[in-house]
Symmetry: C2
Subunit: 230 residues, 2 copies
DNA sequence: TTAAAATAATGTTTTAAAGCACAAAGTTAA
DNA sequence: TTAACTTTGTGCTTTAAAACATTATTTTAA
């Protein structure tokens, strides 16, 4: 069941540190690995949740389809993070879609295995409580940011969040994620044309430099300031 | 510690059904009751969370202060619901403010008591997991609704949500909550003037009738349709 | 290696909603 | 019972962002 290329799931992400040796084995036995190409859909709104997914490598966007084909990205996932479990825990169907933004490998754990372990291991239950509480706080923040800030503030904040989440490449300035202008727009709640325009003005103001989809941050302080003022 | 006017907290809200007899006693012994007048602030952004609050009677708004004095109401609380615990579970300070919208009584339970019980009672942990998961789903929905729908859709949706949450008075049409136009605007992400205007047009279109702050729903289907189309 | 498609870039027009200003009606307080 | 204040209601003006249109530039595929 385990792939020899990869370490076992319980050693990969520290969210499983709280498991007993027995539980770790149980988790390993029930974990499978799946691979996805770039821009592949992992799950869709309305489907029944079946697995917790823990990213090994690659990047994933979680988004909701809005009116008129405009999507809203509600969160971005990076390696070691898990997703696709919320709907199950709420006893709902998926309310979001998940798609890769680059080639991706991930552990798949049946949600009933997760459920059993949450029921028998308090510490794991608390791990989920904490993750969900933090996510809920972020979601409230995002709502206010996206509804009250102007275009420049929204894009600046989106870029700041990408920096904080994915960090920089070895050069120390290039953000370690490549997104289309459309995805950038869907994170910042604006049209693609406006994302392009606003990104260009950030470049001409000397805050960023852009090479295709690679964004480098030249003046982080200024970016932060714009993201706060709105 | 208990007030004779009110039933014990564990009998009042069914979220405590999962507690053992011993835990119930422990909960009761540590619960106090507080009373608030209309428009009183219960807690503020930045404060250290100390108590879980369970509403006995009255209504509470949870809101974030936005730019330029415009607040965003992120949720409304009704009797039997609990709040003020998210920040504690996420090990953060409050990110929101809470204020009464009418005279309110509430149970106050120290969060360390809640923490102890979550750690010792898996079922209670799961209760919180489920509540948080559902809230997170709602928050994602709200984000998309508030960012993508137009004014009429946003207000219609806000009113639909109020109906679903608070229900009707005995007459079967008047929504069982009275909010200022400003609060209505702060739920639907618009200016007060636009809330007033849009509400008036809903009235002149025969969907609603309004007497001061009392809103009656005359054509729920139409309201629902507008809330969905945007 | 050309064609087709997707993505990026820019200019122009339109519009939804904010901003502003002011009046009327209710409330609260002195 | 005035006065002061808050809330509600409207009209007018401005503006931020969407919508639309068109042209480059990449990327992908045939």
């Amino acid at each position: 069941m385990q792939n020899k290329e990869f370490v076992p799931i319980d050693e990969f992400s520290d969210m499983w540190d709280v498991l007993t040796q027995e539980e770790r084995m149980y988790l390993r036995e029930n974990t499978k690995i799946h691979h996805f190409k770039k821009n592949q859909i992992i799950y869709c709104e309305g489907e029944e949740p079946s697995h917790l997914i823990c990213l090994i490598k690659g990047k994933v966007k979680i988004y909701k389809e809005g009116t008129g084909g405009r999507n809203q990205i509600v969160m971005m996932i990076k390696p070691k993070e898990s997703f696709a479990y919320r709907a199950f825990l709420a006893e709902e169907r998926y309310m979001t879609n998940a798609a890769t933004v680059e080639a991706t490998s991930a552990y798949f754990v049946p949600l009933k295995v997760i459920y059993e372990m949450i029921c028998s291991n308090n510490k794991l239950a608390f791990t989920f409580i904490k993750i969900l509480s933090k996510e809920l706080g972020k979601a409230h923040n995002r709502t206010v940011n996206l509804t009250q800030k102007h275009i420049r503030g929204r894009l600046a904040e989106a870029i700041v969040n990408l920096v904080e989440h994915y960090g920089f490449d070895d050069d120390g300035v290039t953000i370690n994620i490549c997104l289309s202008r459309e995805d950038l727009a869907n994170i910042s709640n604006m049209t693609t044309a406006n994302a392009i325009r606003t990104l260009s003005s950030f470049v001409s103001e000397g805050m960023l430099s852009v090479k295709g989809r690679h964004i480098s941050v030249l003046d982080y302080e200024k970016l932060l300031k714009i993201s706060k003022i709105g």
